[in-house]
Amino acid sequence: MGVKKRQKDLTTLDKLYLPEIFKGLALTFKSMFKPKVTMEYPEVKFEPPASYRGRPVLVQEENGVERCVACGLCSRVCPALAIEVRANETELEKERYPETFEINMIRCIFCGFCEEVCPEEAIVMSKDYELVFTNREDAVYGKDKLLVPVHKLKDRLEFLRNFK
């Protein structure tokens, strides 16, 4: 019964280090001639595809009114309890509108359930992934930050019609 060689016991060749260093350098050298996959963020920004689930936003129609009728289903379905809706009556035909609509971006887990459950296609996942805040209060996005004109969301709305 000989003594079993431990894995950390290095051979003479290993102890030289040089073969491994050349291996690594060869890989780096090869990559220099391949197309670049990195971006110089934030100077250059990543444009996600339509299927991307960025922060949820509310669709604002051309006339400036939100599509949302404040049914509260997004709020009900949200597994993280991120959404709070307060409804009130409006003179418009839709009768009901969200007086306040708040998404707590600290709670949001970007699952997209709100978008899936919405009967009006009023809340959709945007391509916006830049979420920065320095305190909890700022992380609660109200209607001012959530409303996005419909023409900016065409990609996603089209994606939903095709695949939802």
Partner: protein, 560 residues
């Protein structure tokens, strides 16, 4: 006893009972829209069609009398096919309004579409369009498109409210509901039609769009609008009461409550402008917020500076049995009080023979039974007032009543007192005159009991949290928001007032006095009551339960 077989099981029934009643009694649910246990049979919705053996066609369970030996099948293929067909038919012109409809979540049509519908419609034509916002009356908004013409509201106003104000007009799919010419749907019970409407056609103007039903918590309580004490549910969101609905209790209010009680007994609980938040003491003529400790010390110090005969105590028929009992015990034990009474708020002619009582306080019988009355040759309320005039009474301790509001001259009289201590939840004429103002929890923020006009003792439970109550620790009903909210979520930050029930405040005061009240919970007070007041002997909160207990007393006048 005659026997009927429903779904293979045999049941006894009484002659005159219909199939639907027999089935309901035995726990078999037959779907129904137009049938209501308290209304006459209309038989127009057809959803309750069931198969009865040896009958050539399906029959409606709501108007077919049960007969001996009858064999009913509520789950046969034929019955289910008929149910699906009726659902499809009713849904033809019903708008897909659920996202904006207030009834969503407690809608019979929604539930039945899920349970008994086929899930798809073969109707490709345009749906009938009707008016969406019709003001039927001062408190009711009618959406004609949503109406499924069950006629429950029409029958209710005719049969229960006794005012035939509503009717169908037009025919076929154009049929709609309206008031008779020159009439408004304004009887004192109109809002019950919102509860019995199986869809969202009738909605409350007050509650419209305020909250979805699943976002609120509901607490069993009792209405404090008059001496009837209708059983209610208090619906709360963000620690604010959103609406009241009646709770079924056959011995008190049946299925109903009046509009006045439903609308006007909870607004003051939410009113941030008038609610008293924390104890106040008058300093340099101004009511100034102080700590409980300071207020209690000041109250006791000033009360002690008077002769016992110079102090009068006024309890309240708005306060609970516990509060009144603690009040009389506190005053008698520590100040030998004889000048003890409470004010009655009776509006002659305001009652009816349905629910509304002339006595506008919820607990006058409770106040009487707990001993809120002059002791021996002590003064009653009128004599106390005269006593203030003649300077015999120099200090007045008022619990939960706006005495200054009772008479035009009382306001100036109360201002003449050397000391006025007031327990109140909201600012009123009396509180503006108070020297020491102690904030009390409203009926929706405490445990307690009240005794109604017929001697039914009933329980109230906290639905709204105050600073001394915590929803989860105090086992108050919780909505999903309440359960999972943190202090960083806005919905969990509803306003909490610094207020306590009167018995607790009196307990604090008594700690500075020779005879201490040693109550920790409302149950402790009630235990004391049950040991000392013969009408309540043997009772406890568990026995009173959700439905109340009728007590025996010769003081029940049983006048409506």
């Amino acid at each position: 006893m005659p026997k009927i077989t429903i779904d293979g099981k045999q049941f006894d029934f009484n002659h005159g009972q219909t199939i639907i009643e027999t089935a309901k009694e035995n726990g078999i649910e037959i779907p129904h829209f137009c049938w209501h246990p308290k209304l006459s049979i209309s038989g127009n919705c057809r959803i309750c069609l069931v198969e009865v053996e040896k009958m050539p066609k399906l029959v409606i369970a709501c108007s077919t009398l049960a007969a001996d030996g009858m064999v009913v099948n509520t789950q046969s293929d034929k019955t289910i096919a008929a149910r699906n067909a009726v659902m499809e038919f009713i849904l033809i012109n019903h708008p897909l309004d659920c996202p904006i409809c207030d009834e969503a979540g407690e809608c019979k049509l929604q539930d039945y579409a899920f349970k008994h519908g086929t899930g798809e419609s073969r109707f490709v034509e345009e749906k009938q369009h009707k008016d969406k916002r019709v003001e039927l009356g001062p408190r009711i908004m009618f959406d004609a498109e949503r109406c499924i013409s069950c006629s429950r509201c029409i029958r209710f106003s005719d049969e229960i409210a006794g005012r035939n104000q509503l009717t169908f007009i037009r025919r076929g799919d154009r049929v709609t509901i309206t008031t008779f010419p020159g009439e408004e749907f304004d009887n004192p019970y109109t809002m019950n039609t919102i509860d019995i409407c199986p869809v969202g056609a009738l909605t409350s103007k007050d509650f419209r769009f305020k909250s979805r039903v699943w976002e609120m918590s509901s607490t069993n309580s009792v209405c404090t609008g008059c001496a009837r004490g209708c059983n209610t549910e208090i619906w709360v969101r963000d620690n604010k009461i959103q609406r009241l609905t009646p709770r079924i209790n056959e011995t008190v209010n049946g299925h109903w409550m009046c509009d006045d009680g439903r609308l006007n007994t909870f607004k003051h609980v939410n009113n941030e402008e008038t609610r008293i938040d924390g104890p106040h003491i008058r300093v340099d003529g101004q009511l100034t917020k102080v700590t409980w400790n300071e207020a209690v010390k000041e109250a006791v110090k000033r009360l002690k500076s008077f002769n016992n005969t110079e102090i009068a105590f006024i309890g309240s028929a708005f306060a609970t049995v516990e509060d009144n009992y603690a009040f009389q015990k506190f005053s008698k034990a520590n100040f030998n009080a004889t000048n003890l009474d409470f004010a009655r708020h009776v509006v002659p002619g305001s009652g009816d023979d349905i629910l509304i009582c002339e006595d506008k306080t919820p607990n006058s019988l409770g106040a009487v039974l707990t001993g809120i009355q002059p002791v021996a040759d002590g003064m009653n309320l009128a004599e106390i007032i005269n006593g203030i005039k003649s300077k015999k009474i120099k200090a007045l301790y008022i619990m939960e009543d706006d005495i200054a509001q009772l008479d035009s001259e009382y306001e100036t009289l109360l201002a003449k007192l050397d000391l006025l201590i007031v327990h109140a939840s909201n600012k009123n004429k009396t509180t503006t005159l108070a020297d020491i103002l102690l904030p009390v929890s409203t009926y929706a923020e405490k445990h307690g009991t009240i005794v109604n006009v017929d001697g039914m003792i009933q329980r109230m439970r906290p639905a709204v949290a105050t600073e001394e109550l915590e929803r989860s620790l105090d086992q108050m009903p919780m909505s999903r928001w309440d359960k999972f909210g943190t202090k960083f979520d806005r919905w969990a930050r509803g306003k909490k007032y610094d207020a306590k029930p009167s018995w607790k405040i009196l307990g604090l005061l008594s700690q500075e006095l020779p005879n201490k009240l040693k109550y920790k919970m409302a149950e402790d007070v009630f235990e004391d009551v049950s040991q000392h007041v013969k009408e309540f002997s043997g009772l406890d909160y568990d026995l009173i339960g959700e439905m109340g207990v009728k007590i025996k007393s010769d003081k029940i006048t049983a006048k409506v």
